[in-house]
């Protein structure tokens, strides 16, 4: 176990977004988090990465409680959050976006890593000096994932990477995620596209109105009748 939350409760004003939520991530595993809009998935990721402060509960990472730390501290510890909605920095170039991803790094390998991503995703390389705001949706998503990886995270939090992307691009994005996973990064994936997410995941949590309602390995969830009905459009 590399990471866990215990009894996490988060409130927006009077609204409780998460209620006593506990999850566990095993090192090197891809865990997916499923649930309807407003179930609290994004809230959970924001809380982990320090954007939101839980009212109650505890977040443990490598045996240390990181609850309450500022986002810049948390990313330094090796947890990168790739936010939903393709949050590229639109007024900066592709290159600058990637460089921003390495904001916390002071080593000399940054340029080399950027070149590595450019090699791996030639489409980004082509647009190296274009403003990120001018990229297509799929390219932006690619960029945002690469940017998150630039910090060399041990855990990657991915928030709906397939949102609003064409099916083909979605496939591509999932392929990237699968590769990152294979390279040994621990991933927490939030997805609406439940079927695809479960296919590449090791384990899945199902969230409903701020609560975990089911947890199982991905294959069993994929086959579960209830899950199919609620989340696979059955």
């Amino acid at each position: 176990m590399i990471f866990s939350t215990q009894d996490l409760t988060v409130k927006y004003g009077q609204i409780t977004a998460l209620r006593d939520l506990s999850i566990i991530l095993e090192s090197g595993e891809l865990t997916t988090l499923l649930g309807a809009n407003g179930a609290g998935k994004t809230t959970l990721l924001k809380t982990i990465s320090g954007l939101l402060k839980p009212t109650k509960g505890c977040i443990t990472y490598q045996g240390v409680n990181i609850e309450g730390l500022q986002p810049d501290r948390i990313i330094k510890m090796g947890i990168a959050h790739c936010p939903e909605g393709r949050k590229a920095l639109p007024r900066q170039t592709v290159y600058e976006n990637l460089k921003m991803g390495a904001y916390i790094r002071n080593d000399s390998g940054v340029e080399k890593d950027i070149e590595y991503f450019f090699e791996r995703f030639p489409r980004l390389a082509e647009r190296r000096d274009q403003l990120a705001g001018h990229l297509s949706g799929g390219e932006q998503q690619m960029l945002v994932i690469c940017r998150a990886l630039m910090s060399k995270p041990k855990i990657l939090l991915l928030d709906e990477p397939s949102m609003g992307l064409a099916p083909l691009v979605v496939k591509e994005v999932f392929e990237i995620i699968r590769q990152i996973h294979e390279e040994g990064t621990t991933i927490l994936l939030v997805e609406q596209n439940a079927k695809m997410a479960l296919k590449i995941a090791d384990k899945g949590y199902i969230l409903e109105v701020g609560k975990i309602v089911a947890v199982d390995d991905a294959q069993s969830l994929l086959k579960s009748k209830a899950v199919q009905e609620s989340y696979l459009g059955g």
């Binding site: 990465s49 500022q70 936010p83 920095l89 900066q92 904001y103 916390i104």
Partner: protein
């Protein structure tokens, strides 16, 4: 004559440009209508004056003034703006007006409303081309303005903190997720804004060999704001161009229309400009979403 008026306008414009750059740091990046900008840097300029009259070396006094501007803005940001950072537009605007009042009256209490000589021993000479006279000081000021602009642009473009600042201007949460220490970086933005203001303010004082309370609000905040709006909010280049346009406009109106109605005419021109070209000369693209 026209050429001389143009040169006069250009030199006032370049002073406005320096002040506007500092203003625009905050306005462009954090969207705060910083009514306190002028009065904060005026404190820095008066601090420099205080040291000068105590016999401190001018270079040291000016450095100290710049540091004072930097530090005051750090404190003001922490105490007055950070608590209302996410409270919409009106709230921080009003706190800024409050800070302006506090600063201005602090100056009034300590130094009073008088005009003081501001003499650092630099005397510009004049270059004459035909009938046109250009002061060397004017050239220096223009050079300082341009090099500050280049310096800031490079700082924002090439340094890590600079890139962090640009990221913050686009989305605070996203920047935070990149590991940008948001509060510290925003403090730096305010600090630089204050320091740039002091540089502009001190050049103003040197150019006119005098300092008085009005360099803050009337000649600082308001002109910087006008320049930012002419240039387009959030564009450093725009602020500089806007400031120079403003200087030229004032000079031309004084020279060819009327000194009596100068302020009114310049304001009316600005209002007309805003109504015709609300995005300014160098607009930033914004799309409203629902």
């Amino acid at each position: 004559m026209l050429l001389q008026h143009l040169i006069n306008g250009l030199s006032i414009g370049s002073i406005y440009a320096l002040i506007a750059m500092g203003y625009n740091m905050v306005y462009g990046i954090l969207e705060l209508l910083n009514f306190a900008h002028g009065d904060v840097y005026a404190v820095g300029c008066f601090a420099a004056l205080g040291l000068l009259t105590m016999g401190v070396h001018p270079a040291l006094a000016i450095m100290a003034g710049i540091i004072v501007g930097f530090v005051i803005n750090l404190f003001v940001e922490k105490l007055a703006y950070r608590p209302v950072r996410y409270s919409g537009r009106v709230t921080p605007t009003i706190t800024a007006v409050g800070i302006a009042y506090i600063m201005r009256n602090a100056i009034l209490k300590i130094w009073g409303p008088e005009t003081f000589a501001f003499d650092i021993g630099v005397r510009g000479s004049n270059l004459q081309f035909g009938g046109i006279i250009i002061g060397t000081l004017q050239i220096y000021i223009l050079l300082i303005a341009v090099s500050c602009m280049i310096g800031i642009t490079l700082y924002l473009k090439k340094t890590k903190t600079g890139q962090g600042i640009i990221a913050i201007s686009q989305s605070i949460p996203t920047a935070a997720l990149m590991g940008v220490p948001v509060n510290r970086t925003i403090s730096i933005v305010y600090g630089i804004g204050g320091a740039l203001g002091v540089i502009g303010g001190i050049l103003f004082c040197i150019y006119y060999d005098s300092i008085f309370i009005g360099i803050g609000f009337a000649l600082g905040t308001i002109k910087a704001w006008m320049a930012s709006i002419i240039g387009g909010v959030g564009s450093l280049k725009g602020a500089v161009m806007g400031a120079i346009m403003l200087g030229l406009m004032e000079s031309m109106v004084s020279g060819y229309v009327s000194t009596l109605y100068k302020d009114a005419i310049v304001w009316l021109l600005l209002i007309a400009f805003v109504l015709i070209k609300p995005q300014g000369l160098f607009p930033a693209q914004v799309a409203e979403k629902i």
